[in-house]
Every structure is written in structure tokens, then in C-alpha cells.
């Protein structure tokens, strides 16, 4: 039986920096966040 990929929640804001760093490395390693959405917008012209 396939094991369902369980997403680990991000550490609480006041957690030690090392926990945030570990989570950050895990997030950056995941392919799912590298996929560019089809309907992605672009920036527009601002007003001077």
C-alpha cells in the first residue's frame, strides 16, 4: 500500500532558527514548489 506523503507543518514563529532552517531546506528541495503555474501573472506598469 503506497504511503501518503504527509506534509510537515512549518515550525511556529518563535521556534529556534535551526528548526526554521531545516524546514526551509526541506521546502526548497521539494519539486512541487518548482512548478510554474499556468495562469501566472506578470507585473504591470506603475504610476509615476
Amino acid at each position: 500500500m503506497p504511503v501518503k506523503d504527509q506534509k510537515k507543518p512549518a515550525p511556529k514563529a518563535n521556534a529556534p532558527v535551526e528548526e526554521h532552517r531545516k524546514h526551509a531546506d526541506e521546502i526548497l528541495a521539494k519539486d512541487e514548489y518548482k512548478e510554474k503555474p499556468g495562469a501566472l501573472g506578470k507585473s504591470d506598469e506603475a504610476k509615476p
Partner: protein, 189 residues
């Protein structure tokens, strides 16, 4: 002490200045990534929105991926471009020592005191340098915040986390609770 890059405005009189938000934000991200150190290559230093734009070509809106390619070529900076990451994970990436360029929808900012382009309500790019632990606010470098008129903010501003999230979630192609962002390296290790 987290490295703070100098503020770089997009309204610098160069070609395409009012569509250079992402270029200016990436110029600030490059400074953070390199902690202000010149790569000493054949390109200019410090990073400039106009140089990034010239690498991209014609005027008009830009996105994270094309700016990433431009700053790789010009300054040897390889940003980590990520889409639809949960806001709590974005927080971890910032707390752990990275800066980020974030696409936002300016219509969310327009009614607030952070509005730096009255009448503009479209897609925009900002640079986020750090998070303040006391209230969770983010230090945002809006490249439009150049105080060119009295009511326009000047330089980096502490935006409430809820405002940043709302503006980033409203950018087209973004899932609820998530945002797109392009991260610098961790400069605090």
C-alpha cells in the same frame, strides 16, 4: 545583524522605469545575496534595474523566472524561485536568513499608508529582507517608495504580515494561503 541592502528605486529615469519593479527588487536581492560584494566580472556594479532590464529586452511586465536568469548572467546570483509555497513556510525561509522577491497585487496596498503609486492597482514586485519577531512584521523594500511626492513613503517599511500575505495571495495564479517568491541564499549561516 541581518545584512540590509541599500534601497534601489525603480523610478530612476532609465528606459522602462515604471515597469522595472521586478528588476529593481532583484537588484536589491542581488545585494543581499552577495552581501554587497562585487563579483568583479565584466558587468556593472552595484546591480542596477536598467542593466537587468537591458538583459531582458523590451519594456513591459516581467516575472520571477526571467529576472532570475538575468541576475545569474549579470551577477552570478542563482535565486531559488518557488511557487505556491505556504505562507508559514515563507516565514521560515525568511527567519532562517534569506531575502525574497515577492509578486503582489497592488490593489491591496492602494488603500493603505504603504501606497507608493496612487492610482496603481496592478501586479507589482517587492523585495522582503527580514521579519521582526516582536510583531511579525516584514521589512519590505517597495521600489516605488522613493518619496518623489510628499505622501509617498520613503525606503524600506515594516508591513504587517497580514497585509503582505493578502497582497501576495491576490497575485494572479496564486493559491489561497500560499505565495510565490524568489529567495536569496541564506546569508546568515
Amino acid at each position: 545583524m541581518i545584512y540590509r541592502p541599500p534601497f534601489i528605486k525603480q523610478g530612476d529615469g532609465s528606459r522602462c522605469e515604471w515597469t522595472n519593479c521586478n528588476c529593481a527588487s532583484h537588484a536589491m536581492a542581488v545585494m543581499r545575496h552577495r552581501k554587497g560584494v562585487d563579483p568583479r566580472n565584466e558587468h556593472g556594479w552595484p546591480p542596477a534595474p536598467a542593466e537587468i532590464r537591458n538583459r531582458l529586452g523590451a519594456c513591459g511586465g516581467t516575472d520571477l523566472a526571467e529576472n532570475d536568469l538575468a541576475v545569474q548572467h549579470l551577477y552570478g546570483v542563482n535565486m531559488d524561485v518557488r511557487y505556491n509555497i505556504p505562507m508559514a513556510s515563507f516565514r521560515s525561509l525568511i527567519i532562517s536568513g534569506r531575502g525574497a522577491v515577492v509578486p503582489i497585487w497592488y490593489g491591496v496596498i492602494a488603500p493603505t499608508r504603504f501606497d507608493a503609486s496612487p492610482g496603481f492597482t496592478g501586479g507589482h514586485g517587492i523585495y522582503v529582507n527580514e521579519r521582526r519577531s516582536s510583531d511579525g512584521a516584514y521589512l519590505v523594500y517597495d521600489p516605488l517608495a522613493d518619496h518623489r511626492r510628499k505622501a509617498i513613503p520613503q525606503g524600506p517599511q515594516w508591513w504587517p504580515a497580514s497585509l503582505l500575505q493578502k497582497a501576495a495571495e491576490a497575485f494572479p495564479g496564486t493559491r489561497g494561503g500560499c505565495i510565490h517568491a524568489s529567495f536569496t541564499r541564506d546569508t546568515e549561516v
